[in-house]
């Protein structure tokens, strides 16, 4: 069993806006590309009958039935939530899974990972993927090799998924700081924890879809009764206005 840090002063994480995410999958391949170049994310049978590979971020779409309204579709990006109370860490038999004290990022020390898969079972979010070729567990690193990376321009020191998101539905920052842009966004938009009853205390937050439906404009009043006045009456009334 591996211990979690007592508490972290900084909680780096993502805020994902479900009102804005169109499900374009841009974050999925930006993540795949960046991390494949870094830690390696293998693919099995990439041109075969049943291709599969390791992705640290996937986007699923769900249909939601709404009473007395048309069904809705929600696209839902899913990756590690960097939980305060991360069950994937406490379950790890070798100490490979750990949560960083300095910023709260949950990482896997691949040198110590034996690929037992217990952490993936323990994670209620399905956010870990075994790299079948390397035999080690992979997960979102919050691009720890970007956010502190001084070889990158300062504006690029954010996770690849955030940098690429075309709708700006993904936000990165310190959720322990109530004045950070991400914390303010969570406060303004009612950001919520995923499956809070699991007691995992995730750092990442999701912003809920806004209420949908017809607008609230007052009905248009007819200018006059066209049937009674004919078009000529309409023209008189209308053009008299200018």
């Amino acid at each position: 069993m591996t211990a979690l840090p007592q508490a972290t002063q900084t909680k780096l994480g993502l805020v994902i806006d479900l009102d804005t995410c169109v499900g374009c999958q841009a974050c999925v391949t930006a993540c795949k590309g960046w991390n494949d170049a870094g830690i390696g994310l293998s693919d099995q049978n990439p041109y075969g009958a049943d291709p599969s590979g390791t992705f640290l971020n996937r986007v699923h779409s769900y249909q939601v039935a709404i009473p007395d309204a048309p069904a809705q579709v929600v696209t839902f990006p899913r990756s590690c939530l960097h939980c305060d109370n991360a069950p994937c860490v406490t379950v790890c038999p070798t100490g490979a899974s750990y949560k960083r004290a300095e910023d709260g990022i949950v990482l896997v020390n691949e040198d110590a990972c034996i690929g037992c898969g217990l952490c993936a079972w323990a994670c209620p979010y399905g956010a870990r993927e075994m790299d079948e070729a390397q035999g080690v567990m992979k997960k979102c690193t919050l691009c720890v090799d970007r956010i502190y990376n001084e070889t990158l321009a300062e504006e690029d020191r954010e996770p690849a998924c955030v940098r690429t998101c075309p709708t700006n539905a993904r936000h990165f920052g310190d959720l322990a700081d109530p004045d950070s842009a991400v914390s303010r966004l969570v406060a303004e938009r009612g950001g919520y924890d995923l499956m809070p009853d699991m007691g995992t205390k995730p750092t990442n937050k999701y912003l809920p879809p806004r209420k949908k439906g017809p607008g609230t404009a007052s009905p248009l009043a007819p200018l006059l009764d066209v049937k009674a006045t004919g078009i000529a009456g309409w023209l008189d009334r209308m053009l008299g206005k200018i």
């Binding site: 804005t20 930006a30 795949k32 693919d43 579709v73 110590a112 690849a160 998101c165």
Partner: protein, 951 residues
């Protein structure tokens, strides 16, 4: 706590080269990170005007595209029967001399026997110019089966279009309404824009039968019945007129609403009343007398009636106030409740008129009138293929522009804004050119905008001059040609047979054709010893389905291995506030015997001695495409690229600059010319904009114009159909022309609706997923893991009524064919509509995929259900297209759906299933297949044997 050391300073590459993406038509700027000369990572260029740093799923997967095993490696010559895939590798010299040997005699005797059509071509100003100099009338790109209704409907009405040729004023719009917008043009810019609206809580509405993607995040969704958008829009116009919620000042000043329409019976009826100088005019409210339409200080009277002739405005009001456009009348047909339509009209009116905005920016209009500010109506729209790919799509696009016009929002702050080179009136576009003279070029470009029957491309006997019958009475305004009809027409010998079909990057034997199964037969059928289409030359970078059907393959480079220009001469990357163009350059050198197709085309042109491509001594004028891009001049001083001309400082106009390409590379592969701030809005009428456009070289003189609510070109065709004029349509087309060529935007039922009477009640649609849209090859190893399967999505009504269950199949039939395909339930869908992701299905053996790949086993196309022809009437072959523009009417499709229980379909593959295509010579390799390892091996590696790198 003892934490391991983490590498945080990883260098992704040793060099960054900036070029332009080619995974779709967005043409985003990309940073290609190279490590030891190989691509390590691709991300978006933050300085680029189109994507501002972001990148889509395709763009970030480009690394899998340049390493794809399906890349062709060398020129190929067919040695077995066509379609058998038996090829031999030949040299480029053999390939080029073979092509010349086929083409040269055609040029000398009958240039029209060469048909040159391009698919995902981003170099149309070159390919068109080449075909023009060859002298064949048979050239177009793929716009005819893509979205020409969007372009033509827009250009004939407002001198600009949706597509990527304009965009909402994302910073100021308060209400954004999309009609039939899937994740297509203009992909990343629209996503960025929606993100901006969402960030400030602006309202987004989507009218679309399918609620995915943008429709899923829209604040309101109207799940309309396909093909009825035009009716819904005209009903909105009805509601706005009924309530008097129209912008009269805007209509009077900037549109042809105050022009007078000839009332007298005869050959002029419905055309504008003209003065002695042949100019239309208005009645000035202040004097009650005729006044020039472009006169300073004139106050046009919208309600005028002069010598029995009424204004366009009066005609318009009379038409749309008819009870047939009332929401209650259109609701059943549209599948949208009347209350919903009235509520949407009220919402549009409220934002346009009660929440109007004003920019404190003085400007002067083309009449010389000064304006102290720029009022704006912050309602904006976008529309794409959902309304376009119907047989009533042209008029539906016009209707939507009319809606924007009466709201007074177009080209105002908060509304829809055009991007240079638009706005541009019809009069500034060429008419189509087609007259062939053996050994000579055409006298002008192939594609253009028809003003009257005089401009049609007809032979002296009245038959179509073009193989696709574009610009004929069947589809007079086919501004992008009709690529989908080339193979069927050439096969039928209607209007004539051809000799050589030359195709670029167009998968005509698969997903880019209607009735794909039949097209494959057309490509292989013989007439005596020879094929009905005797010769086919094809250029592609990948082993697509089309390769097997060609006789000569000219292998192209991938997008990172080539030069290109994204030019103001065809489809630039402009923004409303700046004209923009861009380049591609070889950030990688090809490692195969492949050549940039455009360089090959110039080489062929030189070998054929085509004008403009050879020097006086007969030698090649251009070394390659890059040389052409820098040194070609379309008009004196105006070339493919506008930036860094002359001494390097000239913009738009200037002599060729030998350093131009290098300057683009140093500038991030693009260039922008900024619109002056006083010219930002009201561009069609803004004197500052017009002057800027002339300075830049967009046109030679200012081109102000009025929006065409009433279209004279359309009316001229109605007149012909009514029997007026020397050029007369065939009798069987008169009624159809009278209906479709109405000078006001109107709605008529899509032609496909006729199939309902035969038991085909259900609408069938397709859309491309955002992660594959317009990308050339979903064999991409990463993207196919995201969407390698496609299902037919069935609405709840059909799912429940027929007792469908998960794992079931459906037999889907139409008048053209039958398919058996896997199904899935979707509730967020119009109740009479089914749909699937398009072009996931691949033919077995193509694209270097395993024959058991899901794309080739369960993947499917709807194309087999869609006839390229309308049902036979008295032996007349009419294409299944919009009667105005020839836009392929993919979305008119009606079908019948029957459940096939999983147990009754034990084979578990989609039908029809075609023979496996043989594997042509190709690169192989590609993404490494990392086989799974046993975890125990890993455990041993780490804990039993010494582990390298352990600290």
């Amino acid at each position: 706590m003892n934490q391991p050391r983490v590498e945080t300073q990883r260098e992704v590459g040793d060099e960054v080269r900036q070029t332009t993406c080619y995974m779709c038509a967005c043409r985003c700027g990309i940073n290609v990170h190279l490590k030891s000369g190989k691509v390590a990572y691709i991300d978006g260029n933050r300085d680029h005007p189109i994507n501002k740093g972001v990148l889509c799923a395709k763009g970030a997967s480009g690394i899998m595209q340049v390493t794809a095993p399906s890349r062709l490696t060398a020129p190929l010559r067919r040695v077995g029967p066509r379609g058998s895939g038996a090829f031999e590798v030949i040299t480029w010299e053999e390939a080029l001399s073979t092509a010349v040997a086929w083409m040269k005699p055609l040029r000398e005797i009958a240039p029209e026997k060469l048909a040159f059509f391009t698919g995902r071509d981003q170099s149309q100003s070159l390919t068109g110019w080449w075909a023009q100099n060859f002298g064949t009338p048979n050239y177009a790109a793929h716009g005819g089966f893509c979205s020409v209704n969007m372009a033509a409907g827009g250009i004939y009405t407002i001198g600009g279009a949706f597509w990527e040729f304009g965009q909402p004023d994302w910073e100021r719009t308060k209400l954004f309404v999309m009609f039939g917008v899937a994740e297509d043009h203009d992909s990343n810019p629209i996503k960025i824009g929606i993100g901006k609206l969402k960030a400030r809580g602006a309202r987004v509405i989507s009218v679309n039968p399918v609620r995915t993607g943008y429709s899923a995040v829209a604040d309101d969704w109207i799940g309309i019945t396909p093909g009825t958008d035009g009716l819904l829009i005209l009903s909105l116009i009805h509601c706005l007129l009924e309530a008097g919620k129209v912008d009269l000042e805007y209509l009077a000043q900037w549109t042809n609403a105050p022009l007078l329409v000839t009332e007298a019976e005869g050959a002029e009826k419905g055309l504008f009343v003209k003065n002695a100088e042949s100019q239309p005019f208005v009645i000035d409210k202040t004097t009650g007398h005729p006044a020039p339409w472009d006169g300073k200080g004139v106050q046009p009277d919208l309600g005028a009636e002069w010598q029995g002739n009424r204004t366009v405005f009066r005609h318009m009001v009379e038409e749309y106030l008819k009870p047939e456009y009332a929401p209650e009348a259109v609701a059943p047909r549209c599948g949208v409740a009347a209350g919903r339509i009235r509520a949407l009209a009220a919402e549009l009116a409220e934002v346009a008129f009660d929440h109007a905005i004003t920019l404190d920016q003085p400007w002067t209009d083309f009449r010389g009138n000064s304006h102290k500010d720029m009022p704006g109506r912050p309602v904006s729209f976008h529309a794409m293929r959902g309304i376009s790919a119907h047989s009533n799509g042209f008029q539906t696009a016009r209707a939507l522009h009319l809606l924007q016009i009466i709201l007074g929002s177009l080209e105002t702050p908060g509304g829809y804004r055009l991007k240079p080179p638009y706005p541009k009136p019809i009069e500034a576009h060429p008419t189509p050119h087609f007259v062939t003279t053996p050994g000579k070029p055409l006298t002008g470009p192939h594609l253009g905008y028809v003003r009257s029957p005089d401009d049609l491309c007809l032979l002296p006997d009245g038959s179509p001059a073009r193989i696709d019958k574009a610009f004929s009475w069947e589809n007079p305004f086919s501004a992008h040609g009709m690529m989908h009809m080339v193979i069927p027409n050439a096969h039928a010998g209607d209007p004539y047979r051809i000799d050589t079909l030359f195709l670029y990057m167009a998968n005509m034997s698969w997903n880019s054709s209607m009735n794909s199964a039949r097209v494959m037969e057309m490509l292989t059928e013989k007439d005596g010893d020879d094929y009905v289409i005797p010769r086919i030359i094809y250029s592609d970078a990948y082993a697509s389905e089309m390769v097997a059907y060609a006789d000569l393959i000219l292998p192209d480079t991938t997008y990172l291995e080539r030069h290109d220009c994204i030019s103001l001469l065809d489809r630039p990357i402009s923004e409303p506030d700046a004209a923009g163009d861009a380049i591609r350059w070889p950030v990688l050198e090809p490692d195969r015997e492949v050549r940039c197709f455009q360089s090959v085309l110039l080489d062929l042109g030189a070998r054929l001695g085509l004008p403009g491509m050879v020097n006086e001594d007969g030698t090649a004028k251009f070394k390659d495409y890059a040389d052409y891009i820098v040194n070609h001049q379309r008009r004196p001083g105006v070339g493919p690229l506008m930036g860094f001309r002359g001494n390097g400082e000239a913009e738009g106009r200037g002599a060729p600059n030998p350093d131009q390409m290098q300057r683009y590379i140093e500038n991030g592969a693009f260039y922008q010319a900024h619109v002056p701030v006083e010219a930002s809005f009201y561009k069609p009428w803004n004197a500052a904009y017009q002057d800027w456009a002339v300075r830049l070289g967009l046109y030679e003189t200012p081109q102000p114009y009025l929006f065409n609510i009433w279209s004279e070109p359309l009316r001229r065709f109605q007149l012909a159909a009514e029997g007026f004029g020397p050029r007369q349509p065939p009798d069987h087309l008169r009624d159809r022309l009278k209906q479709a060529m109405h000078p006001l935007p109107i709605w008529y039922a899509p032609f496909g609706d006729e199939d309902a009477a035969f038991g085909y009640q259900v609408h069938a649609l397709t859309q491309r997923p955002m992660d594959q849209y317009h990308s050339w090859g979903s064999q991409n190893a990463w993207l196919r893991q995201i969407k390698g399967h496609n299902y037919l999505y069935l609405p709840t009504k059909i799912w429940v009524a027929q007792g469908f269950a998960e794992g079931d199949w459906a037999r889907v039939s139409s008048r053209a064919g039958t398919i058996v395909v896997p199904v899935a339930h979707m509730a967020a869908l119009n109740e009479n509509t089914i749909w699937t992701w398009n072009a996931i299905g691949k033919r077995k053996g193509a694209w270097a995929l395993d024959e058991g790949a899901p794309e080739a086993t369960t993947g499917f196309l709807l194309n087999h259900l869609i006839s390229e022809l309308l049902p036979d009437r008295d032996g007349v072959r009419l294409s299944n297209s919009d009667p105005v523009t020839g836009q392929a009417a993919w979305f008119d499709q009606r079908v019948r759906v029957e459940r096939v229980a999983a147990k009754d379909h034990p084979r578990g593959t989609s039908e029809p299933m075609f023979e496996k295509l043989p594997d042509p010579p190709r690169a192989g390799g590609g993404r490494h297949n990392s086989s799974a390892k046993n975890w125990i091996q890993n455990y041993r590696r780490k804990f039993v044997s010494p582990v390298e790198g352990m600290e």
